[in-house]
Every structure is written in C-alpha cells, then in structure tokens.
Symmetry: C2
Subunit: 343 residues, 2 copies
C-alpha cells in the first residue's frame, strides 16, 4: 500500500482562447507563471510523492505536450482512448494502481498559492483515507459569493480548517442570492475537484453507483499485461457513459468527506480570474509585452508577448494576443470567450 497521484489532464476547454485551443488547452499553457499549469501541478505533488508514483491521464492527442513538458516515465502516462469525462478517466487510471493504494486525484490546471498548506491538507486527507472507508474531498473556504463553482455543504456550524467533515450535500452552481447565503453560513465550500481515497473504496462506490464502469474496470484490470490489453480498453472505453465523478459517484455515495481548506486556490477559469491572481502595478495593470507605452490606463490586463503595445486613456480592458489573433474585451465579460472561440 502506497500513496499515488493521478493528474487529470484530459480537458479541452477554450476559456483561454486565443491562447488555448483544442490542440493546446489550458493545462499545457504558461498561465500563472513561466511554467505551464501541468508543470506546476506535477512539481507541487512531486514534493509529496515520488515521480514513479505520479500518473497523468490525458487525451491521446495531447501525448506530445505531456512528454515535452514533463520528465515522466512513458508507463505513467495513461492515454484515454476516447473522451468520457472524469468518472471514466479516474476509473481507467485506477486500473494501473493496486486496490490498497491511496489515490490523490488532481486537476492539472489549477493554481495554488500556498503549497505548504496544500501539502499539509493532503497529508490529513491521506491519513483519513488510510484509516476509513472514505472518499475525501478538499473543499475551498469561499472568499466571495462565486456563482461559477459547485459547493459542498456540511452539517457542522463552525467548521475548522484541515479537519474532516462528512458531506451533507453537493450543491450545483448557485445563483448570486444563494451564493451570498452559502457564504454567510460558513458551512459551504467550493468543490476543488481534488479527491483522496483508497482504490478499493472507490471501486466499491463504482460497483454500487456506476456498475457498467465497475465491470469495465474489473475486466481491464484482469487483462492488464496481456497482449490485447489496449484493444480491449479501446472497445470497453468507447462504450462507457460520459459523466463526471461528481454526478456519477460523489453526489450519491454516503461515505464522502470534505476537508475545509484554505491555500490560495483558484481554478483560473477565465481571463478575469487570471487578472484577479496577477501581479499588478499601482494602477491595477498587468502588462506583458516586448515593449509598452502606457498613458492613463487603469485596471487592464495585457498579455502580448513579443508585441509592442501602445495604450492610452482606457480602463478595465483585457487584451490578449496570440500570433495574428487579438482579443480585446471589457473586464468582467470573459465568460464570453468560449463562445467567441467557437465562431
């Protein structure tokens, strides 16, 4: 029995268009630092877990990015035969571990400011998962009435950070009024998409709530090492339901726990979210460019690597360049980027 990590790198979002594309989604981009998001994620968990115990599951179209960005053994990169959402991807990953291993599931494209506290929280989760038949989630203490995240509700009225609480209910993204109410109670936490469990415990949950996936995992596990393993995976995987682990398991299982957490987390879900995280000058501007001339500009984010930017008398703009594409939008409207990327 040992602790393993599974980094989920199968996302194909376009929320960082024009920088992110189907071919190169956010996890493979330098968004919050001069390392890519997945490099940051890998380095972070590598402080707790040796390389050989960290696997990455990704879309086969993105295999090249993984090997270009990470120093990782070939056998630790698991290629999804098809896109089937997080439940299937986690199930597939579980095939490659032992049933008494403890698994940490991590998104590959999130930002964490305080790595020490993050690792401390994980240690608590690992310890709890080791000693209990529990699926442990990390719930982020909300700092604002965010309507873009799902919430995890607990019963306790005065929860403490880094303690483990049974989950009362998973809550969908709320409207603003509800989000305010959640924030006030202190009993609601953002669903970070990070889970810690013993493989056997999750398998039991799959058996109960997602029996088709359970059977696929069992037969994949049996065939592992056999010659026709990947052909078999290909066939099984294609038939799986495309559903998130949240809908498929967590919202139904009764042994789900949450650790109220605070380590400067952000899913960096939009250009606006990135602006919030970014280092700003005294005028609230974050400007990256080969050269810049700035006059009377406030609260703007400009990412124009390799370009010369001259900007004057504007405020609250987001300007992003990528090759010959230029995105210009009002701050606060970056949820529209996905739609614009499709046009």
């Amino acid at each position: 029995m040992s602790v393993k990590a599974l980094i989920m790198a199968g996302g194909v979002g376009k929320r960082f268009w024009p920088k992110s594309t189907v071919d190169k989604p956010k996890q493979f981009l330098k968004i919050t630092s001069d390392k890519t998001m997945i490099q940051e994620t890998f380095a972070r968990i590598n402080r707790l877990i040796p390389k050989e115990n960290i696997c990455v599951v990704t879309n086969r179209d993105h295999e090249n990015h993984i090997f270009a960005q990470l120093d990782i053994p070939k056998k630790n990169v698991l290629l999804e035969p098809a896109m089937r959402n997080t439940a299937a991807a986690i199930g597939y990953g579980m095939v490659f571990f032992d049933t008494d291993d403890i698994l940490i599931v991590l998104p590959s494209d999130h930002y964490i400011a305080d790595i020490e506290r993050f690792l401390g929280t994980l240690r608590v989760a690992i310890e709890f998962a080791r000693n209990n038949d529990a699926i442990v989630t990390l719930g982020i203490k909300p700092t604002r009435p965010e309507t873009g995240y799902g919430y995890i509700e607990i019963e306790d009225i005065s929860p403490e950070l880094m303690q483990v609480y049974p989950v009362k209910k998973f809550r969908e993204k709320p409207n603003l009024e509800t989000a305010y109410a959640y924030l006030e109670t202190g009993r609601f936490f953002w669903n970070s998409g990070m889970f810690i469990f013993r493989i056997a415990v999750m398998e039991e949950a799959f058996e109960m709530y997602m029996p088709q996936l359970y059977r696929a995992i069992r037969s994949m596990r049996t065939s592992k090492g056999e010659e026709n393993f990947y052909e078999m995976v290909e066939e099984e995987y294609g038939k799986l339901e495309s559903i998130s682990i949240d809908y498929g398991v967590l919202e139904r299982a009764t042994n789900v726990y949450v650790i109220p957490s605070e380590f400067g987390w952000s899913d960096v879900g939009s250009w606006d979210a990135l602006y919030e995280l970014s280092m700003k000058d005294n005028n609230g501007n974050h400007i990256e460019a080969k050269e810049s001339i700035v006059r009377d500009v406030n609260n703007c984010m400009i990412l124009a690597e390799g370009k010369k930017i001259a900007i004057a008398h504007v405020e609250d703009l987001i300007v992003i360049t990528e090759g010959d594409t230029i995105l210009i939008m009002k701050r606060g409207t970056s949820q529209d980027v996905k739609m614009m990327a499709k046009e």
Copy 2:
C-alpha cells in the same frame, strides 16, 4: 503662361503612428481609400492639369515612395536638399516654373469628398489669379468649432461660396470659446493650405517679406541648367529660414484673397479625424481585419489588416495594428499619438 501644380509632400508627421513613421509618413499611406493620400491628390489634380505640369516637392529620403506610387517624370520630382518648411519648399518649386505661370500649391495628404466642386473652386481661383495680382487661398466653410485649424477671416457678413473675398486677417488656432464665436459669425474659414497665384506675384511677395528667400530663388533660377546647379541649391537651401508660407508671407501680404469653399474637405489630421470620415456599420464601427468576431461593440475603429480580431463589450476605442505593434486608445484622445510615437 500655363497652369502648373506643386504637390507638397515633405511632411514627416507621426500622427498616424504606428502606420506612419519618419520613413513613411501619412502622404504615402492608404488612409482614406485603397490608394495612398498622394496618389489621391495626384489623380485629383490630374483631372484639371496634365501630368507634365504637375510637380511634387519632397524630402530626398522619400524619393523612393514617390516613384513607387506615382507615374511621374523624374524631372517633375523636386527633392528638398534639407527640411526648411513650406515657404522654402514653395520657393524652390517656383524656380522650375516660368514667372508668368499660375501655380496651384496643394498639400499631399488631405481628403476631399466632392472632387467636382473642388475642381470648380480651383477654376474660379485660377481665373482670379490670372486677372489680378492676387494670392488666392481656399478657405473651408467650418462645420464645427474646430480648435485644430487656423482660420481665415473676411470682412463680408454674408459671404457666398466660390466667390473671392479679400482676407482681413489670418487667425491662429483658437480656443474652443473663440472657435464657437468664429463659427457663429460665418466670416471665418479653415485654412486649407491650398494657394493659387502667379509665380511673379509670389516672387514679389517674397521680395518684400522674405528677401533672403527671394535672393536664393533668383540665383537658383539664374543657375538653372548649369553644371553646378544642385551644389549651389544645396548650399543656398541649407541657409534658408525654416518658416511656413503662412507666417512668412500670407499673414503679412495685402493682396491675399480667399474663396469660401465646401467640398467635403478634411486634413485627416488624426485617427479620430479618420474615424469621422470612415464608413461605419449600424453600430458606428469601422473594422478592417482578416477576420473579426464582434459582440456588443459600439463606435470603434479597428484597422488590423491581416489580423484576426475578437472584440467584445467595449465602445469608443481606436485599435490600430502595424506589424507587431498594437495601438489601443480611447476615441477622442488621438492627439496623444505623436507623443506616444516618440517614446
């Protein structure tokens, strides 16, 4: 005696930065159409005057642009040996004409919407200059209290278009209050920088008000055709005072006339002025790009040839790209471009 034209193409302004540069100022750019400003100017006057009678005076650094853009005999391109403002450039040009020629002096970088009315006005001016010892200017009927132009005042209280009036006074660029007052009287016209005169009449004015320039013109005229002509010009020209024809002659001479004119004139002095002239869609946008995605955008001008532009939820922006340079500014502030170009 015949009618000649002198197109003044020595300007080196940066008001259209980043498209205009010291190496390629506005007159050599496609600003208002798919022809360059000087191509438009040349074609316009060529409807009245045959090619062989049209000369262009320019900075020697820009000789290449002239021949690349205009089909003009080499002898009709006069290269200023140094930059000495309009009085010297006109004086130099005059050396190449006969003293009884009528000369039309035209800026090379202005916009004119109604070419027929423009040519009609010129015909009136030519006729007046032919029969009088007069320097005739074209004064544009103001349509707004513009503070960026000089004004020409006349005595008459109800002037008619395309009639000739003696000039009472040249007025410097006014403040806004004064500009409003000028507009109301109906006796003030914008100085368009277009002049029509017999060469002999302007030489007399030079003799009286700019004797140094007068002597230089006389000796250049005498040496014309001689072997050392250009050496001599080089030496004489360098010594000349750098002063505009307005300050040097027009504001002092007593035989200056103005024709109140209306032919859709603009000096296109800034990106803002160009926005005013441009064709706009129903949302007040003028967008040139390889591809554009536009959502909730109003009253913007975007000139991004060869680029893909995605723009959302903004208004009153000017966006200009040139190679790897991107200019973004609030509409109404483009007077700052010159300063930004210097930085």
